[in-house]
């Protein structure tokens, strides 16, 4: 028996029975199909384009194409004063504006010699943890949609609404805050802010349990995510993953603990990593689980901050805000733990200008997305959707 593979025709088997009888068997020819998923596709979370090479439902290769939302963030930075860059950072990861602002403020403050009032640090942590919960709610809700569960999404958005109104009350904006300034914050929080935040915390706790029961422990949800898109810890580190993605692979790495900034060293919170009982370590379910558990930790942080926060007597939120931000010459890399991972800003200053010489953003989403090619190989189309959802990308930050 002889096997031939004629291009494009499938394999052909030739069997010689006798001198006169030759049996030729041909398989049905199959071709691979190029399937362009996105940029207008409901589950690519924005304008990501994935060019998939598919064999039936199985994906042999998926290549992400980026840049549909590119807004020249880094080039803009070279032409804008430092305080003017803060609103741009809001627009990078638009689901976690406070966290992006905080990362940028930390980076610039490393170059400047400013003293930040303690109350400012507390307010910064409270608003960014609130924003982290809001961001995880979107991640969890849209992940539910990706897997066909629509209701958790609206439950998540209902509760995110409370956070957005709290942040709107503090900063005046619902999404693009421009609240955390270099050296301070735009203004003090309103008088009853702490009380309302505590009300939210008490309101939200039972809901988080409900969401857990509705989505995370759902049999079909577990079936769809467990063991899908497994990323071993070493490969994840090599890809430079961070945040919930890396913790989903079982690496206990959280910048709030490993490279502490602001008042995080004073606070008591855990860094949740999957233990491998409920999920396979490194799969989509682990990554989802980490986000679900992190919301509870954020609630704990907020509670502690509100307990320990200094009063507002004689407090000037802009006391540390320089009239003109002109950092000393040098370069700095400041980073913070964003809901999606490590967001870092590399800033070069020439010491004379009020504009950075160079500002580079290390985007967590971009780095996390780079593993797409590895993760998607040999998966089914529904699994690909599950994997993209578990990466939780915000295209604003991927493309900048």
């Amino acid at each position: 028996m002889q096997e031939l593979d004629i291009a494009g025709q499938g394999s052909v088997r030739v069997t010689r029975k006798s001198d006169n009888v030759v049996i030729i068997e041909k398989d049905l020819a199959t071709e691979q199909m190029v399937l362009a998923m996105g940029p207008q596709h409901p589950s690519t979370h924005g304008v990501l384009k994935l060019e998939c090479l598919t064999d039936g439902e199985v994906i042999t290769e998926a290549v992400p194409y980026l840049g549909y939302l590119h807004r020249c963030f880094e080039k803009h930075c070279e032409n804008v004063d430092y305080p003017g860059i803060v609103p741009y950072t809001d627009r990078m990861d638009y689901l976690a504006g406070m966290n992006s602002e905080m990362a940028f403020a930390i980076a610039v403050e490393k170059l400047l010699d400013v003293e930040i009032p303690r109350r400012v640090e507390f307010i910064r942590v409270i608003v960014s943890e609130l924003n982290r919960i809001a961001s995880h709610l979107v991640a969890i809700g849209t992940y539910g949609i990706d897997l066909g569960a629509f209701t958790p999404f609206l439950f998540c958005f209902r509760d995110r609404e409370h956070i957005l109104s709290l942040l709107e009350w503090a900063s005046g904006a619902r999404m693009l805050y421009n609240y955390i300034w270099i050296g301070g914050i735009a203004n003090d929080v309103p008088a009853d802010f702490n009380k309302r935040v505590m009300e939210f915390v008490h309101y939200f706790r039972p809901f988080a349990t409900e969401l857990f029961k509705l989505l995370t422990e759902n049999e079909i949800f577990v079936k769809r995510t467990k063991g899908i898109g497994i990323m071993p810890a070493d490969v994840a580190i090599n890809y430079g993953w961070s945040g919930p993605m890396l913790r989903g692979s079982g690496v206990k790495w959280d910048l709030r603990r490993n490279d502490p900034y602001s008042i995080y060293p004073e606070l008591d919170f855990d860094v949740p990593v999957p233990d491998g009982k409920f999920s396979d370590i490194g799969d989509c379910l682990s990554r989802h689980l980490v986000r679900a558990l992190e919301m509870e930790e954020s609630l704990r942080i907020i509670e502690q901050c509100i307990d320990k926060m200094p009063g507002s007597e004689g407090f000037n939120p802009r006391a540390g805000v320089p009239k003109r931000v002109r950092p000393k010459a040098g370069e700095v890399y400041g980073r913070a733990e964003n809901p999606r991972g490590e967001l870092g800003f590399y800033i070069q200053s020439d010491g004379k200008s009020t504009k950075p010489l160079r500002c580079k953003a290390r985007s967590s989403c971009f780095v996390n997305l780079s593993a797409m090619k590895d993760l998607s190989k040999g998966q089914l189309i529904p699994d690909l959707v599950a994997i993209i959802g578990s990466i939780d990308i915000v295209l604003g930050e991927v493309d900048r």
Partner: protein, 358 residues
């Protein structure tokens, strides 16, 4: 009071002024008007309202009181839309697809007994016809998916065909269990056999200790047959955009939608006819309080079967807004390795029960 409660209902059948069977016409009009109202407007409206209440929303509120006219407004909008046929589509298949789908879904209504006095076509193989006619939908879906010349549509169509053809097997076997208990395929006859003064106790679901198994199997399989969650992979909006009707616009889109809601009611009606007594009242006679006698009759029959159908539609919507979606291979696994073997088991057990237990 007892006799008057349904006396008018029975009297309606004999209402023949000037030799014209007006009473029967009115009786026939009830289900027809209902089908038109339900399928054309209130199926969609109900789905939107139910999903809204499950999700802490209000749902449509603007058009009419509580948004009751919302679907009419939507239909008016869809009627005015440009009817686009993609340039590279196979025009014939593209146009004919929704038509086949619609016909397949609404043809089964012909054999549904809507009341003791009314059935569209009293076939002696009614159940068989209903099972068979649903399969025609597959042709429509395939035509729509292939004719669209869109990769997502093709995926949706292929998935849909695989799914519906597979799930027909457990569904048909489960219905056969009901047919075996009745000893007939005539839908009207199946209903008559479930009548009795004990109301719900005469329903086939409670007539044998294993009837719940085919009932459950048919319910699950029927979800897959009408592409409802958690088996809505043919139109999985987060994976396949909109599945086989991605390219459809305007009235063609609406026709596909109506066919879907039509099938939803159709399978709900079939499950209530075969297992839950169809137009029979579930209320038992309690001595002098003859609830069953009072609430049975031509008009009451229409009421009961429509309510039972609505109950199952509600369960379908409830599931849809609660559960995530299964994956293609998990769906096939469920069909071939779980439902089909259990359907055979229930078939054999029902046969044994029917032979040895009178």
């Amino acid at each position: 009071m007892g006799n008057t409660l349904n006396a008018w209902s029975n009297a309606l059948v004999g209402f023949n002024p000037m030799g014209l069977p007006l009473g029967l016409v009115i009786l026939a009009a009830i289900p027809l008007v209902f089908i038109a109202l339900y399928a054309l407007t209130y199926g969609v409206y109900g789905e939107r309202k139910i999903s809204a209440f499950m999700q802490d929303r209000l749902g449509p509120m603007e058009v009419g009181k509580w948004g009751i006219l919302q679907t009419l407004a939507d239909i008016l909008k869809l009627l005015q839309k440009e009817d686009i046929v993609p340039a590279s589509a196979d025009k014939f298949l593209f146009v004919v697809g929704p038509g086949i789908l619609f016909v397949g879904s609404f043809l089964a209504f012909a054999v549904l007994p809507f009341s003791p006095a009314f059935i569209g076509a009293s076939l002696n193989v009614g159940l068989f016809f209903a099972i068979g006619i649903v399969s025609i939908e597959v042709v429509g879906i395939l035509a729509a998916g292939w004719g669209s010349n869109n990769k997502w549509s093709l995926y949706g169509a292929v998935r849909s065909v695989a799914q519906i053809v597979s799930y027909e097997i457990p569904a048909a076997i489960a219905l056969l269990c009901g047919a075996m208990m009745a000893g007939t395929l005539d839908m009207q006859q199946i209903n008559i056999l479930q009548s009795g003064s004990w109301g719900f106790a005469h329903f086939f679901l409670f007539q044998s200790p294993i009837a719940w198994l085919p009932f459950l199997i048919y319910f699950i399989a029927s979800l897959a047959e009408v592409n409802r969650a958690p088996f809505d992979i043919p139109e999985a909006e987060s994976e396949l955009v909109a599945g086989y009707f991605t390219e459809y616009t305007g009235m063609k889109f609406a026709v596909i939608f109506l066919a879907e809601y039509g099938s939803m009611f159709m399978v709900s009606a079939i499950i209530s006819i075969v297992f839950l007594g169809g137009w029979n009242s579930p209320l038992p006679n309690l001595g002098a309080v003859a609830l069953n006698d009072w609430t049975n009759g031509p008009v009451w029959g229409a009421f009961w079967i429509i309510s039972k159908g609505f109950f199952f539609i509600f369960v379908q919507m409830w599931l849809r807004w609660t559960l995530p979606r299964l994956r293609v291979d998990q769906l096939m696994y469920l069909c071939w390795k779980v439902l089909t073997p259990f359907a055979f088991v229930s078939f054999v057990l029902t046969a044994v029960w029917e032979i040895y237990v009178p």
